[in-house]
Symmetry: C2
Subunit: 435 residues, 2 copies
C-alpha cells in the first residue's frame, strides 16, 4: 500500500463534518480509487467542544488554524472556513508557502485571491484545487478545465445559486411574492439568516468569475461582474413570463466580446426569462446547472446539487483523490502567470430580446408616455401587457417584450423615462434566454 495522503482540515461546519463522514463511510472505496488512504491527521475550528456528530478524538486539534500549515505530518490542507480574507486567506497562503497542497470550497477567496494563490501554488509546485467552490457537488471546474479542454469556449452561463433558484421556482409553483418565499426558504434552511450574498447575486458572481477564468484564460476579475439579484422579481413577473412561455431564473453569464478588435470580458449575473424549452428552465429547487458552449463540443450541460454538506464534501474529496493520484496540474487550466488581464466589455451593442416591467400610476396617458419613450429610443415592442386591475395603492403593472435590439436602446428608453412621476418604481429589465 502506498503512503497515505495526510490531510489537515480547517473548519468543522456542516461541510467539514460532511467531509469527515464521507472519508469514513467510503474509506475502502476511496483508498482503491485514490491508490492510497486519505487520512485526516489534524483538525481545527473555533469551538472544540461542539458536538458535530463525528468522532474528532482521532485527530490532532489545532486551536490556531493557521498553524495547520506548519505541521510536518500534513500533505494537504483543506480550508472550509470561508471568507475572502482573514484566517482562511492566511491559512491558504501559509499552506502553499509551506509546500502543502490546498483544497478549498471558498468561492469568495478564489474569486478575490485565486490568481495570487494559483501563482504561489505553481511556483511551489503544489496543488491548489477548488471544485467545491463552484456549483457544490457538480464537477464543473473539472468539466471546463479538463472535460472541455479541447474547445475554445464561446460562452458559459448557468444557474449558480441554489437559494435564488429555490426562491424563484417556489414563487413559480406557489404564486407567492418574493418576501414571503424568502422567509419560508430561511425557515427551511435554503436561505441564510442574512441572505444578501445569495439573493443579491454576489455568491453567483464569485462562481461566475472563477468559471470565466478557467473558460477564457482571462485573469479572474470579480470586480467587473455586473451583478443584480432576485429581490426585485415579483409574483406578477413570474406570471407574465409564464404566459409568454418563459420561467425566470438567476443566470450568470460570461463570454468574450471581440467587437472592439480586442478581447474583452463580459460577465453578468441577473434574473432572465428562460424559454421553457431550454434545459435550464427545468432546473428547479436548490439545483445548479452550468452550460458551456465550445467550438467543437457544442453545448454541454452539467447539473446537480449546488450546495449542502454531502455534495460539497463530494467535491472536496474528489479534489483530494486527484491530488492523491498525482493528477493535480495547474489550477486554472493554463499557468496563472499566462492568464491575461481583460478589460470589461461594453454591453450597449449586445443584441437581444428583453422583458421590461414598469409599475405605473393608474391614470390616462401613462402607456402613451412609455411607448413614446420606447419609440424615441428605437426600442421595438414585440408584445405588451397592461395588467387589468390596479394593485394595492393604485399601482398598475405594464410588461413588455422587445424585438431584438441593442441593449443601449433599452438603456436610453429608461433614461428618457427616468424621473417620470408616472413610474412608481424603477423598471426591471430581464434579458430573454432563448432555447
Amino acid at each position: 500500500m502506498a503512503e497515505p495522503l495526510r490531510i489537515a482540515l480547517a473548519g468543522l461546519g456542516t461541510v467539514g463534518a460532511g467531509v469527515i463522514r464521507l472519508l469514513d463511510q467510503n474509506r475502502e472505496l476511496l483508498t482503491a480509487r485514490a491508490g492510497r488512504p486519505l487520512d485526516v491527521v489534524a483538525v481545527s475550528a473555533r469551538d472544540r467542544s461542539k458536538d458535530r456528530g463525528v468522532d474528532l478524538s482521532r485527530f490532532a486539534w489545532e486551536d490556531d488554524m493557521t498553524a495547520m500549515a506548519a505541521r510536518g505530518d500534513v500533505d494537504v490542507v483543506v480550508e472550509l472556513v470561508g471568507g475572502s480574507d482573514g484566517p482562511a486567506l492566511t491559512l491558504a497562503r501559509n499552506a502553499i508557502r509551506a509546500g502543502k497542497g490546498l483544497v478549498t470550497a471558498n468561492k469568495a477567496m478564489i474569486a478575490h485571491h485565486g490568481m495570487e494563490l494559483a501563482e504561489a501554488a505553481e511556483g511551489a509546485n503544489v496543488a491548489l484545487r477548488f471544485e467545491a467552490a463552484v456549483a457544490g457537488g457538480i464537477p464543473v471546474v473539472k468539466g471546463l478545465r479538463e472535460g472541455a479542454s479541447a474547445n475554445a469556449i464561446e460562452q458559459i452561463y448557468g444557474i449558480l445559486n441554489g437559494t435564488c433558484n429555490y426562491i424563484l421556482s417556489t414563487m413559480e409553483d406557489s404564486g407567492a411574492d418574493f418576501g414571503e418565499t424568502l422567509q419560508a426558504a430561511q425557515e427551511l434552511g435554503y436561505a441564510e439568516a442574512d441572505p444578501t450574498f445569495d439573493i443579491e447575486g454576489i455568491d453567483a458572481a464569485h462562481k461566475l468569475a472563477i468559471l470565466a477564468g478557467i473558460a477564457f484564460g482571462a485573469r479572474i476579475d470579480f470586480a467587473s461582474v455586473d451583478c443584480a439579484g432576485v429581490s426585485r422579481v415579483r409574483a406578477q413577473d413570474i406570471a407574465q413570463a409564464d404566459a409568454l412561455g418563459f420561467v425566470i431564473r438567476l443566470i450568470g453569464r460570461a463570454d468574450i466580446d471581440t467587437s472592439t478588435g480586442e478581447a474583452r470580458l463580459f460577465q453578468r449575473v441577473q434574473p432572465c426569462l428562460v424559454d421553457k424549452e431550454h434545459p435550464l428552465a427545468a432546473v428547479d429547487g436548490p439545483t445548479n446547472a452550468v452550460v458551456a458552449e465550445g467550438n467543437y463540443v457544442g453545448r454541454l450541460l452539467f447539473q446537480g446539487a449546488g450546495a449542502g454538506d454531502g455534495p460539497t464534501a463530494s467535491a472536496v474529496v474528489a479534489d483530494l483523490i486527484d491530488i492523491a493520484r498525482g493528477d493535480a496540474g495547474t489550477p486554472f487550466s493554463v499557468p496563472a502567470a499566462t492568464m491575461v488581464p481583460m478589460a470589461k466589455a461594453d454591453t450597449g451593442h449586445r443584441m437581444g430580446h428583453n422583458y421590461i416591467r414598469f409599475t405605473v400610476t393608474d391614470r390616462p396617458g401613462v402607456l402613451a408616455e412609455i411607448t413614446a419613450a420606447m419609440r424615441d429610443a428605437g426600442v421595438s415592442i414585440e408584445s405588451l401587457i397592461q395588467q387589468g386591475k390596479p394593485e394595492e395603492g393604485g399601482e398598475v403593472l405594464v410588461a413588455m417584450v422587445t424585438h431584438e435590439g441593442p441593449e443601449s436602446a433599452v438603456t436610453e428608453a429608461l433614461r428618457l423615462l427616468d424621473g417620470s412621476d408616472s413610474l412608481t418604481a424603477e423598471p426591471l429589465v430581464m434579458p430573454i434566454l432563448e432555447a
Copy 2:
C-alpha cells in the same frame, strides 16, 4: 516550451478528420492548456487518395495502420477505426505493448476488450483513455472516474444513443411511426444505412457496460447487459405515454443488486416511459444525457452531443491533453486487476411501475382474458386504456400502467397470455422512470 506530444492517428473518417481540424484550429489554446504542443506525426486509413478536407501531406502515411505502433517518433496512438476486434484491436494491443499511450473512441472494443487493454496499459505504465467511446462529447467517463470519485455510485442511467433519441423525440413531435421516422433519420444522417447496432440498443449497451465498470468497479461484462431496442415502439405508445404524462426514451441503466447477499450487476437497455418532470424527458434529438447518483453528491446530470465529428473530436483531444499534462492514471478509476467479476443480477424481484401494451384482435372477451391473466399473476392495474377504433387489420391497442410490483409478476402475466390467439403481436413492456 516542453517537448510536443507526438500522435499517430489511425482512421480518417469524419471523426479522424475532425480531430485534425480541431488540433489545427485550436492549436495555440491547446498548447497553452496541455503545456506542450499536440503534434500529429503519422496517419493511416484505408484510402490514401480520398479528399477529407484536411491537409494530410504534413504527416507520415502508413498503409498498414498496425505499423503505427512500431514508430519510434510516436508517443500516443489514436485509434478511430472502429470494430471490436480486427485491426483496431491489433493496433491497440501493439501500441500498448510498444509503450505508447492509446486514445480510442471505440466503444465496442472497450466493452469487449477493455479489461485486457487496461491491464496491459497499467502493466506497461502507459495511458489508455476512451472518453469519446461513451456519449460523444460529454465528459462522463471523466465525470464518473474523477468528478464523482468520492461517491459510492448507487445507480447510473441515461440516454446513450443519439440515433434512438432522435427517432423517439421525432416520433413524439410528428406522430409518425417508427419505420418512416427511421427512414427520414437515415436521409438526414442521424441513422446509419444499417441501423441495427443503434436501434436495437447494442451501441447503448456497449456504453452502459463501460460506465458500469467505472462506476461500480466491476469487471466490464457486456454479455450480461439485457438489451432491447426501439423498433417495437409505436406512434400509439408515444401518444398513450404523452396522455399519461410521460415521454418514451431508450434508457440504459445499471446498478448493484445486493438482495442475494452478494453484489450482483444489473445492466439493461430498453425503452422506458420517463416522467415529463424528469430531466431526461427534456432531452430531445440526437442529444445524450447521463445521470449518476452518488451516496454523497446525490443526482448528477451530464448532457450534450452524443455523436458527431466535432463533439467526438473534442473528447478525443481532451484525452490527449490529459496525457500531455501527465494526468492519465488508471483507465477505470481503480486498477483493472482489482475489478471484481460480478454475477448478473436476477431481475424478478425488482419493484416498479410498468407500461404494458398489447395489440389484440377486435372481438369480445379479449379484455377479460388480459385482465384475468394480470389478476392471476398478481399484477395490479393502475390505469388501462383500450383504444376506441381498430387499427388497419382489425387490430386494437390495449395499454395499461401497473401499480408498483415485482417484475416477476409482469413476466408471469405475459407467460399466461403467451400463445393466446387474442394477441396479434408480442406485448411490449416499458418500465416507468419517475421524476
